[in-house]
């Protein structure tokens, strides 16, 4: 299945690096990734992924435990 994972975090490029590090260890395929940076370190990362629902869910939970991540949505 294909899903969008939308991550909102607080530490700019560092948050992006942490999210990428988590995703690359998940058993999912990344189709597209777009990041938008705010002025105060806030960042929104939208990742289109393909994979099994349970894997996508695990990646979501793993990203969410990063202390700089405010929210993770899967659509």
């Amino acid at each position: 299945m294909e899903r969008l994972i939308i991550v909102r975090a607080l530490m700019g490029l560092d948050s992006l690096a942490r999210v990428v590090n988590t995703i690359r260890r998940g058993r999912i395929q990344v189709v597209e990734m777009i990041s938008r940076f705010g002025s105060d370190g806030d960042i929104e990362i939208t990742i289109r992924v393909r994979g099994e629902e349970s894997e996508i869910e695990w990646v979501k939970k793993k990203i969410l435990v990063s202390v700089d991540v405010e929210s993770v949505e899967v659509i």
């Binding site: 607080l10 530490m11 560092d14 690096a17 590090n21 349970s54 695990w58 969410l64 435990v65 202390v67």
Partner: protein, 549 residues
């Protein structure tokens, strides 16, 4: 340098100078495990920082709150390959809870407040704070607000879910508790044993979970898994319902996930990403272990107590069967010990356990000696067994013993190490005399990387390569070089006498216990990818790990 210069006047901060950064961070890790407060390690940039990597990964895998502070080149030359510049923040992203480059003096206090908060809240773990030289030298406007908000969850469980879990447990035929390292961080050993006693269910642990329950508790069966105890493997393999607390369900503990997934699993963990990671949970409870287990104990009387009592009665036979496996296993080990010359690890550990006080903190390296400890070292007081469980870091034991001794004050600290592991960090022995840290070091010396050699014997048709040392240094001379008395005993009585004197006199010793490397095979063993019921027992012991009612 600027930060160290400031330490010159900081009389209230105790500083210990290690011989290598890896030793320093393992010591900080052990200090944190004993005190449950962050252990702090301070290193220079470049190689100093990269030498922390193994220690950070170790602390991350075992959820230990280490705060690492590294120096960095001035911000003006960041990214320009300055002398001793490394992007240590980038290197450590995957092995820390948080790593931060502090870019402004005004950000220093905030970074430290944030680092301490993150290291200790929720599931503990390491944090790295990287401070460029000009930031260290700058004047700061104090600002102690954390850079990120604390996590909202207070670890309270949902009572409705706890109630559902209890009903499943009460109605189970053969429930078992599986406890992991999370139980220690939560301090929930009393609650775990109380649940087990109420349900009359066996307690099985992971390897780090061994440190979280008194090993002489009548319902504790020991650690399960690759080098677990037979009665623990049997308890877990034959359970219909597993209450798992503070564990990641490592492949080392369960062997194969397929059979575990067929069971009803109730999984309590403070880290939501652990639920359903390796094993599907019928009920997942994201909560602090102590709070969740306390809630279970509170709600238990509201469950029909006659059902609880009926269940307890029915489980008596299962518990007795597990205890019978334990008796036969121990009797067998006692008989075999007399055949293994000059020493059998089982008997060495029994001798040591008899001599040192229950409060003694034991640290280990990684290898066959560690697996012998997993099987046969009895932890009487939770929190007194420090080992590298998740990462399996050879060389962890000695610096961990130093960190534990710094934390533990007057309590005895004993290192049980292997010769391979000991040699990886033995340069830190100098701290024993430098700072008056009387550690008892016992080296189980088989002149081999025995655990790997064991795999070569069993899985590679005895094609033994790169696991036998042609020569070791003389550990007695090594001890002498560091001003420590070394012994090479030839009887168990000698070991007992040496350790008894060392404890009584509060003196450091190094004891080189020679093993026959052709016979030092650690069994039972569950081969990688095998199920627990298929554990290979010690040679000559026949045991059926399938419960037949």
């Amino acid at each position: 340098m600027p930060l160290y210069d400031a330490l010159y006047d900081a009389d209230d901060i105790k500083h210990f100078l290690f011989k290598h950064e890896q030793g320093a961070i393992h010591a900080a890790d052990a200090y944190a495990r004993i005190t449950r407060k962050p252990g702090v390690v301070l290193v220079t940039s470049g190689p100093g920082a990269t030498n922390l990597v193994t220690g950070l990964a170790n602390a991350y895998m075992d959820s230990s709150p280490v705060v690492a502070i590294s120096g960095q080149v001035p911000t003006a030359i960041l990214g320009r390959d300055g002398f001793q510049e490394t992007d240590i923040v980038g290197v450590t992203f995957p092995i820390t809870k948080l790593s931060m480059l502090v870019k402004s003096p005004d950000d220093v206090a905030r970074s430290f407040v944030t680092g301490y908060m993150v290291a200790t809240e929720g599931r503990p773990g390491p944090v790295l704070i990287d401070i460029p030289r000009d930031v260290q030298l700058g004047l700061a406007v104090p600002d102690y607000r954390p850079k990120i908000a604390p996590r909202a969850s207070n670890g309270e469980p949902d009572p409705g879910v706890i109630g559902k879990a209890l009903k499943i447990l009460v109605n189970a035929e053969r429930p078992a508790l599986l406890v992991g390292g999370g139980l220690c961080w939560s301090g929930a050993w009393d609650e775990a044993t109380a649940i087990a006693e109420t349900l009359w269910a066996p307690i099985v642990s992971t390897f780090p979970g061994k440190n979280c329950v008194p090993n002489d508790h009548p319902l504790y069966m020991g650690p399960a898994g690759m080098h677990g105890r037979l009665e623990a493997d049997a308890a877990l393999a034959n359970a219909d319902v597993v209450l798992a607390v503070g564990t990641r369900f490592s492949d080392r503990t369960v062997g194969r996930f397929r059979e575990m997934n067929a069971k009803t699993v109730i999984h309590i963990d403070i880290d939501p990403s652990e639920i359903n990671k390796n094993v599907r949970a019928s009920i997942g409870i994201v909560a602090d272990a102590k709070k969740a287990l306390r809630k279970m104990l509170e709600l238990l009387p509201s469950i029909a107590m006659n059902e609880v009592e009926r269940g307890r009665g029915a489980r008596g036979g299962f518990i007795e069967w597990l205890r019978d496996i334990r008796r036969r296993f121990e009797d067998h080990m006692a008989r075999k010990a007399d055949e293994m010359k000059p020493f059998a690890p089982w008997k060495v550990l029994k001798t040591l356990r008899r001599v040192v006080p229950p409060s003694t903190i034991v640290t280990t390296g990684v290898g066959s000696h560690q697996m012998w400890c997993e099987l046969h070292w009895d932890v009487y007081i939770p929190g007194t067994f420090i080992t590298s469980a998740g990462l399996g870091t050879m060389g962890f034991g000695l610096p961990a013993a130093i960190g534990a001794k710094i934390a533990a004050g007057n309590r005895p600290v004993m290192l049980i190490d292997g010769d391979g592991s000991f040699q990886m960090t033995m340069n830190n022995l100098s701290l024993v005399r430098d700072y008056g840290l009387p550690i008892i070091s016992v080296i189980l010396d088989n002149r081999a990387l025995m655990l790997v050699k064991q795999w070569q014997i069993y899985m590679y048709s005895r094609r033994i390569i790169a696991t036998e040392f042609t020569s070791n240094p003389d550990f007695i001379k090594i001890a002498d070089a560091y001003g420590i008395t070394g012994y090479r005993p030839s009887t168990y009585d000698e070991i007992e006498g040496i350790v008894r004197r060392a404890v009584r006199n509060d003196e450091p010793v190094i004891i080189d216990v020679t093993l026959d490397r052709e016979k030092d095979i650690v069994l039972p063993w569950v081969k990688p990818g095998e199920w627990l019921a298929n554990a290979i027992p010690p040679e000559g012991l026949e045991v059926d790990l399938i419960w037949r009612g």
